[in-house]
Amino acid sequence: MKSKFQKIFKGGLGQLTIPIIAILILVIFNLIRDPSFFSISVTHNNDGNIVLAGNLISIINAASELAVLAMGMTLVTAASGGQDISVGAAAAIAGSAFVSMLKSGSTITGGTVLLAFFYACLFAMAFGAFNGTLVAVFKIQPMIATLILYTCGRSIAYWINGGATPTVSSPIITAIGSFIPGIPIPTPVIIVIVVAIIFKLVFHFTSLELFTQSVGINEKAARLNGINATWIKLLSFIILGLCVAVAGVISVSRLGLINHETILLDVEMDAILAVAIGGNSLGGGKFKISGSIIGAYVIHMLTITLYAMKVSSTDVKAYKAIVIILLVVIGSPVIKSKFTKRMTQLKNRKTKVSTKGAL
C-alpha cells in the first residue's frame, strides 16, 4: 500500500501530474470560494426533459469540442512534431458542409443528418489530407503548411454557405447539440466519451500508437524498420480531420446555425494548449491522449471559474494567460531539475544528520 502510494507520489503519474494538480487546485479554489459551486441539480429543460445542470456539467459540456480536437491534435503533434493551426478554419468548413447538405434536402431525418455528417467528414478529411500531404510528402513544417488553410479556410466556408449564416432547426439537431430526450447527460459529453473510446479501441486493435511514437521520435529509424512514415503522418492529419468534423458538427448543432467567422474561433490555440498542458511534448514523440483531454477540461474549468468570478468574457484571456504561464513554469525542465536537486540535497542532509545521530 505504502509503496504504491510512494510510486504515485514519486511521479508515477508521469506527465499527468501537472494537469491533475491543476484540476485539483481549481476544484479546491472553487470549493473555498463557493462551496456549492460543483453542486449538480436535476431540472427540466425547455423541452421538458429531465436533465442535469450545474457548473460542473456546463464545464464538461462546453469543453466537448476542444476535447475532441485535442485528441486529434495530440496525434498530429506526436507524429509530425508540429501543430495544425487550421483546425478552427477547417471546422468552419466541415460545419458549413454539414449545414449545406442538410439544407439541400427538404426534411431533416436521422438518415439525412447521418449523411450530412459523412459529407462533413469527407470535407474535413480531404482538407486534413491536404495539410498532411504538405507535411508528409513535401516535408513542410506543420505550422507553416497549415497556415495556408488557416488563412483561407473560413473564406472557403463562407463560399460554401454562399455568404450567409444559414440556420438549421430540427429536434435531431437540438438533440445532438444539447440533450437526447430521456438522457440527462448532455449529448456532446457522450460524443466525447464515444470518441475517446474509439481512440482507445484503435490503439488496442492497431499499432497506431507504437508507429506514431516511433515516427515522431526517430523518423529515420522508423523507416528502416519498415514503417511507412509518410503514411503515418498523413494518417494522423486525416484522423485529426475526422475530429474536426465531429467538433464542427457539435458546434453547429449547439447553436443551430453556422457562422463561419465565429464558429470555434481561436480553438486551434486552445487545442495546442490542451496538448501542452496534458504534458505532451510539442516537439512530438511520446504522447498520452488522456493528458490532452484533461488539458481541455483544465482550460474550460479555468474559463468557467473566471466567468463565475464576474470576469467578462473578453478579459478572461488575460487571466488565462497568467495561469498558463504558472502551469508551464512549474512544469519547465529547469524548475523541475532545480526542485529535484534541492530535494536530494535535503535528503542527503537528513541522512547525514541521522548517521551522525547514530554515531
Partner: protein, 344 residues
C-alpha cells in the same frame, strides 16, 4: 579586394536564393499588374500607400524574422501591438505627453520581450506556448483597459499624426489638373529605420551572427563559445521591443484603438517572413526578404481588389493560394539543392 571577388564567386546561400526568388516574383507580379490593371498601379503613390498601410506590419515582421532565424516563434506580436495602441491612446487622452507615450510604447514592448525571453531561454519553456500566453495576456489587457473603441483627442499627437512627407515629383496630375504629391507617413520612416537597423545587426553585429548560429545548430553555437541563452533571450527582447514600436506606428496611422486592433497580425507577419524566405526551422532568412514578403502579400490583395473580385472571400483565398505556392516552391527549391549537394 581579393575577398570581395571571392564572395562573388561563391554560390548563393539558401537565404540569398530564397530572397532572390521572392523579389523577382514581386517585381514580376507588380509589372504584370501595371500592364494589365493599370489604374493606381501606375502611380508611385500606390507603393507608398502600401507602405503607409503596412508600416507597423513591416516592423513586427522584422522582429519575428529575428526570432524565426533563431529557430523560435513569437505569436504575441499582434496582441502586444494592439495593447500598446490602446494604452497609449488612453494615456494621451488623459492629458499625456507624446514623448512619454512613445516611451510607454517601448516600455510595454520591452516588458513583454523580457518576460518571453526569460521564460523561453532561461526556463526552457516552448516558445509557442509562452508567446501564446503573451498574446492572450495582451489581448485580455487590451479589453480590460477599455472595451469601447477609443479615438485620439490629443492635439500634439494629432499634429504629429498628420505630418506627412510630400514628394511632388513623384506625384501625379489629378483629373482637375492639380498636382497631387506623393505622401509618405512618418511611420514609414520609422519602419525603414527599424528595417535598416535590424539588417545591419543581422549582417554585421556579432549578436546577429549569433542569431544565425543558434538557428543553424544550437549545440554547435554553444561549443563555439556563443552565449546561447543570452542570444535567444535577446531575440525575444528585440521582437517585443519592435512590437512596441509597431504599436506606436499603428496608432499614428489609425489614430484609434479598439479590441480587434491588429487582429491576425501575427499570422500576417509569419506569412510575410515565410514568403521572404525565412525558414521556421531557423538559421535561414533576412529582413530584406521579409520586407518584400510584406509587399508581395499586400500587392496580391490590391490586385484582387483591382480586378473587381470584390467578394470578401477572394482576398484571403488568393492569399492562401499564394502562400501555398511560395511554400511549395521553397520546399522544392531547397530539396533539389540538398540533393545536388549530396551528389557532389
Amino acid at each position: 579586394m581579393k575577398t570581395r571577388k571571392e564572395f562573388l564567386r561563391e554560390p548563393l546561400t539558401d537565404t540569398q536564393l530564397l530572397m532572390t526568388i521572392t523579389i523577382s516574383i514581386f517585381v514580376a507580379m507588380y509589372a504584370v499588374a501595371m500592364g494589365a490593371l493599370q489604374g493606381g498601379f501606375l502611380h508611385a503613390q500606390q507603393v507608398f500607400d502600401m507602405l503607409n498601410d503596412n508600416a507597423s506590419l513591416i516592423i513586427v515582421s522584422c522582429g519575428l524574422t529575428i526570432v524565426m532565424i533563431t529557430g523560435g516563434i513569437d505569436i504575441s506580436v499582434g496582441g502586444v501591438t494592439s495593447l500598446v495602441v490602446m494604452a497609449c491612446i488612453l494615456y494621451l487622452n488623459h492629458g499625456g505627453n507624446v514623448f512619454v507615450a512613445a516611451l510607454l510604447a517601448l516600455g510595454i514592448g520591452l516588458a513583454f520581450g523580457l518576460v518571453h525571453g526569460f521564460l523561453i531561454s532561461y526556463l526552457e519553456i516552448q516558445p509557442f506556448i509562452v508567446t501564446l500566453a503573451g498574446m492572450f495576456f495582451a489581448r485580455g489587457m487590451t479589453t480590460i483597459l477599455s472595451v469601447n473603441p477609443q479615438k485620439v483627442e490629443h492635439e500634439g499627437f494629432a499634429n504629429l499624426r498628420s505630418t506627412q512627407i510630400e514628394i511632388p515629383w513623384l506625384g501625379y496630375t489629378a483629373k482637375n489638373g492639380n498636382i497631387v504629391p506623393a505622401r509618405i507617413e512618418l511611420g514609414v520612416l520609422v519602419a525603414v529605420f527599424c528595417l535598416i537597423v535590424v539588417f545591419l545587426i543581422l549582417k554585421f553585429h556579432r549578436l546577429g551572427r549569433g542569431f544565425y548560429a543558434i538557428g543553424g545548430n544550437q549545440t554547435s553555437a554553444l561549443m563555439l563559445g556563443i552565449n546561447v541563452k543570452r542570444t535567444r533571450f535577446l531575440a525575444y527582447v528585440f521582437s517585443g521591443l519592435l512590437s512596441g514600436v509597431s504599436g506606436f506606428v499603428l496608432m499614428m496611422h489609425t489614430g484609434a484603438a479598439n479590441a480587434t486592433n491588429a487582429a491576425g497580425m501575427e499570422m500576417n507577419a509569419i506569412a510575410a517572413s515565410i514568403i521572404g524566405g525565412t525558414l521556421l526551422t531557423g538559421g535561414v532568412g533576412n529582413v530584406i526578404g521579409t520586407f518584400f514578403g510584406v509587399l508581395t502579400l499586400t500587392t496580391i490583395k490590391k490586385i484582387v481588389v483591382s480586378s473587381g473580385l470584390n467578394q470578401p472571400w477572394w482576398q484571403s483565398i488568393t492569399t492562401g493560394g499564394m502562400l501555398c505556392f511560395f511554400i511549395l516552391l521553397q520546399s522544392v527549391v531547397l530539396s533539389r539543392r540538398n540533393k545536388k549537394k549530396k551528389a557532389t
